[in-house]
Symmetry: C2
């Protein structure tokens, strides 16, 4: 079983949940399996207030964090995992079935990392944009005739799997040689690379949003360590400042 | 993964569920994991009708069976599994944690058996009386500070575990040498033994209900085969008829 300090390094993130009963059910499943950290992104305020004020709502709902963007919610995480079914999308990142997830999470915790498990809105799940912040996509193996799970039930099943099947020797987590870069660090690097692309006239204006999306995905595929991120950041800063010193190098597009 | 014919031999039984939203959530989890057989015991009719007529209710709710007693619901089953937490009770039958359940169910299906998974009412779970029809009690490993799960989430977690972790070679199921006695067969035997106890003046009137309870549990502990049950039935029928022929043997209590 997971220790308390390991559970504290696993955050549940709900993106734009709508139904207050579902939010309550998520909180209850978290309490059942001993998880305490909840973040709600772009909460619909009337329903969010209703969920928090429900009779018997667990403390973790009172203590939940609110952010307006997913990027902000996962900025301090080193492994971001999106959840859902594959019927309506083909993710651009590696796809795992849920039973294969516990060793991945265990490894990340042993490295000293911090994990986020992301659940999308009830109606349509996570968007392609949301998923571009995810290192991995996890699918609950459901029946193809009725693949889409209720939000509270999906969270219960994922947390049951993680809480029950991870056994980590806490001592393994001591002294990680090279911790992973956080999601926020990757965003800073991606932003800088984007500036370099513009400065270098790498692509027409119309392509800039698509390029930013592609860079975000690529940086997550690479599983950069924190040291890697600093190295690349130094490199791209230097490139950018060279353009600023010699603006004539700035090739027109 | 389970085949369709294996899933058809696993029945979900809800004892006196109250909340129509929970009944709907149970049906949805069943559809998500490909299970179709639902029985509701002692349904509270207004809520049961509401659950069945809900928009988007899966077909399996329309086809659900209704019984007034749990004995009737599990009469044709060869392995009856009660679910819940251990905070408020100490079951009289073997207790398993959920991750240990799949091999037990797999073995029963391979023998050609039929399984029931029983969930109690939301408020208090299965009673001691309910559990006396169960061969085994299964506990979902939850946090001791918040052990009690929502009904729909508990069903989702149990069905996820069974659907995902059972792999059975269908050919194994062919030609079971000696199938298990059904729950109904065990009840017939228990009834007969009860009559013999009365005829023999085995125990004072006041103890008869406690004895019936103890016999019910014992017969389930023995995992009688269908042939065993017929053998014991023959024996106790003979004993009972001997009392009837020579009523003076009927020792007073």
């Amino acid at each position: 079983m997971l220790t308390e300090s390991q559970r504290d390094r696993i955050e549940i993130v709900l993106v734009a949940p709508r139904n207050p009963l579902n939010i309550g059910a998520v909180a209850r499943a978290m309490a059942n399996f001993g998880f305490t950290r909840l973040t709600v992104v772009a909460a619909y305020q009337p329903h969010w207030r209703e969920a928090r004020s429900a009779v018997g709502a667990p403390d973790l709902l009172q203590n939940a964090r609110e952010t307006s963007t997913l990027a902000e919610a996962v900025a301090d995480r080193t492994l971001v995992i999106g959840t859902g079914t594959l019927t309506r999308r083909k993710p651009e990142q590696p796809v795992l079935l849920l039973p294969a997830l516990p060793p991945i999470v265990a490894q990340e915790l042993a490295r000293g990392g911090r994990v986020a498990l992301i659940f999308g809105p009830e109606k349509h799940g996570l968007t392609r944009e949301d998923l571009s912040w995810c290192h991995t996509f996890v699918e609950i193996p459901t029946d193809t005739r009725q693949p889409s799970m209720n939000l509270g039930q999906a969270v219960a099943v994922c947390l049951y799997e993680i809480a029950t099947r991870i056994a980590i020797n806490e001592s393994q987590a001591a002294g990680p040689p090279d911790p992973a870069a956080t999601s926020g660090d990757l965003d800073i690097l991606a932003g800088l690379i984007g500036e370099v692309m513009v400065a270098a006239g790498y692509s027409p204006q119309a392509m800039q949003s698509a390029n930013r999306h592609a860079i975000r995905l690529m940086l997550r595929r690479l599983h950069l360590s924190s040291a890697d991120q600093r190295r690349l950041l130094g490199l791209f800063r230097r490139i950018l400042s060279s353009y600023r010193r010699y603006p004539n190098r700035n090739v027109a597009n």
